[in-house]
């Protein structure tokens, strides 16, 4: 392996994009209104595109000639490094938007910092992805506010989504011992900086949305170490179906 620490880091980024892109793809054709169906698919397309760039780069760092498809389709469940938040089922539209918002609010400051990475490849991916992510965050913020401050029903649904998803948010800021090396080399930012930005965004949007953060702050983690929820297996069964059923074929 050429650079195991960086590989692990990039894999986490790539898997986040991959798994969330896959989840959003499930909405295509089933959105609450045509305009929003198209908007969600755009986000999904951006995420799949990011996953391709990130996993390709992970493959380069791994040095065994794996491309994005080899990494996306041919690992076992416990080899995926996405955060638990992203594999959670879509649920209703409020749940999907809340999940996306909590993630976008994390991804935007992360990409902003990764722009300055001493690793040129990461900086380049961050530059392209940041433009996309800024729009995602704007769009999902608008929706969280509208759902939270819309009708009684939408408020209830948005609050339920927040209550359910809040416990997966700390894991986004997971940092390993090895990451400290990357931070000292200026390749990646420290997660504490990102978390401060994230909190600021999340607090201000939730306030405008009249939503409250759950008082019980018990948090789950595991995805970053390959310990996933029951949901990932089913997601992978779909994602990997063709590659597993028809091994070694070109499509």
């Amino acid at each position: 392996m050429k650079n195991e620490d960086l590989y692990n880091y990039v894999l986490r980024l790539g898997d986040d994009s991959l798994i969330l892109g896959q989840r959003l793809g499930e909405w295509c054709g089933h959105g609450p209104i045509l305009e929003e169906d198209i908007a969600m698919t755009n986000i999904s397309l951006d995420l799949i595109g990011q996953a391709m760039s990130l996993l390709d780069y992970a493959g380069v760092l791994d040095g065994q000639g794996k491309d994005h498809d080899a990494l996306a389709f041919l690992r076992f469940e416990n080899e995926y490094r996405n955060a638990l938040l992203l594999e959670q089922p879509n649920g209703d539209f409020a749940n999907t938007m809340m999940r996306q918002f909590l993630f976008d609010a994390f991804r935007k400051p992360l990409y902003e910092k990764l722009l300055e990475s001493t690793d040129m490849q990461i900086a380049a991916i961050a530059e392209k992805s940041l433009k996309e992510t800024r729009y995602h965050l704007k769009h999902t913020s608008e929706w969280v506010i509208r759902l939270g401050d819309g009708t009684d029903e939408s408020h209830q649904r948005a609050q339920t989504a927040l209550d359910l998803l809040w416990r997966y948010t700390d894991e986004l800021f997971f940092q390993t011992e090895e990451d400290t090396t990357l931070i000292s080399l200026g390749m990646v930012p420290s997660m504490s900086e990102i978390k401060a930005e994230w909190s600021k965004t999340v607090l201000s949007v939730l306030e405008e949305a009249t939503l409250v953060i759950p008082t019980n702050n018990w948090q789950f983690e595991g995805g970053r170490r390959g310990m996933h929820s029951e949901h990932l297996g089913f997601l992978l069964a779909d994602l990997q179906y063709m590659q597993r059923a028809y091994p070694n074929m070109k499509w």
Partner: protein, 315 residues
């Protein structure tokens, strides 16, 4: 100013049509022209939207990330095309949601092809190649439709759709040049989609009562049978390049006519599927109805928020 009588208005309308002058939303038009367009364009829009479902089934299972992105973009385009078409319908004074309700109640029809299941990955390529190919054949003709908004919508849609058929064909080339399993998968899809694709052009001319009037109004430019024949003529050589067999023992080139002859179509099956008895009619309408019903609270929430904001502004 004297008011023109109906006959005079109709005469002037037909003169405009004959002179190839486009009809625009606020222009006078016969009620029947308006009704025909509302029915045809909304049917077309519904077809785009229902058409998202069979392919949408495969988004989560696409075999690699490139194909996944292509499929997402394609199905998304269909949503966009449905939206452009609903826009055209709304210029005629129809309400988009009301026409959608007609779809869900079974009052409005959509293309029968989408009532067939997409059961293997090869179906995705085949739908792109045959179904989009047939649709394009129809839509190119509609770019010259006498109603301006519909014609302009079709121009935009045709431009965007040209990638749909190509990506399907490309996907099938990969399968046909792949393993025997893949080739067999492609042939199986061909066997299932060929006849439904031919049915997409609608009943034969002698069974198509509205056709003559639509041709006179230049809503339609070619008859169903003419378009179907053009499609067969264009598609047979493509199948040969793929090395796929068309499931019709009577298919052969006719030197005299300069066209391919083919077997009669099973119209019983066509009418059964159109009238709700295809393999997936129920599932398709259920899925669309569910999306609309489950989206209701979302649309209401956004409206309620907009109203609150507007109040705050004026307060």
């Amino acid at each position: 100013m004297k008011t023109m009588d109906l006959q005079e208005l109709e005469k002037r309308f037909q003169e405009k049509i004959d002179k190839e002058i486009k009809i625009e939303p606020n222009d006078w038009m016969p009620d029947e022209y308006r009704k025909t367009l509302i029915r045809q364009i909304s049917q077309h829009a519904h077809s785009e939207i229902v058409g998202m479902l069979p392919e949408g089934n495969w988004i989560t299972r696409a075999p690699n990330l490139r194909r996944k992105a292509v499929l997402l973009a394609k199905v998304q385009d269909e949503a966009g095309h449905g939206l452009y078409l609903y826009s055209s319908v709304e210029t005629l004074g129809a309400d988009r949601e009301a026409t959608i309700d007609d779809l869900h109640s079974g009052k409005a029809k959509y293309s029968s092809i989408f009532n067939y299941p997409a059961v293997t990955w090869a179906d995705i390529g085949t739908i792109g190649w045959l179904v989009d190919g047939a649709a394009i054949m129809n839509q190119v003709a509609l770019c010259r439709c006498s109603y301006g908004p519909y014609a302009r919508g079709m121009v935009k849609i045709c431009k965007e759709e040209s990638f749909h058929q190509r990506q399907g064909f490309e996907s099938l080339v990969t399968l046909c040049n792949g393993t025997p399993t893949q080739k067999a998968m492609a042939q199986d899809a061909m066997n299932r989609f060929w006849w439904p694709a031919l049915m997409m052009f609608g009943p034969s001319d002698d069974e198509s009562p509205n056709s003559a009037q639509s041709m006179k109004w230049k809503i339609k430019r070619f008859s169903n049978d003419e378009l179907r024949q053009s499609f067969v003529d264009a598609t047979v050589p493509q199948a040969e390049i793929l090395g796929l067999t068309i499931p019709d023992p009577n298919l052969k080139w006719n030197e005299e006519t300069g066209h391919y002859d083919f077997s009669p179509i099973n119209w019983d099956e066509f009418w059964q599927v159109v009238n709700g008895n295809g393999p997936c009619n129920k599932e398709r309408i259920e899925a669309r109805t569910k999306a609309k019903e489950e989206g209701m609270w979302v649309r209401e929430a956004a409206m309620a928020y907009a109203e609150k904001r507007a109040l705050k502004k004026t307060a």
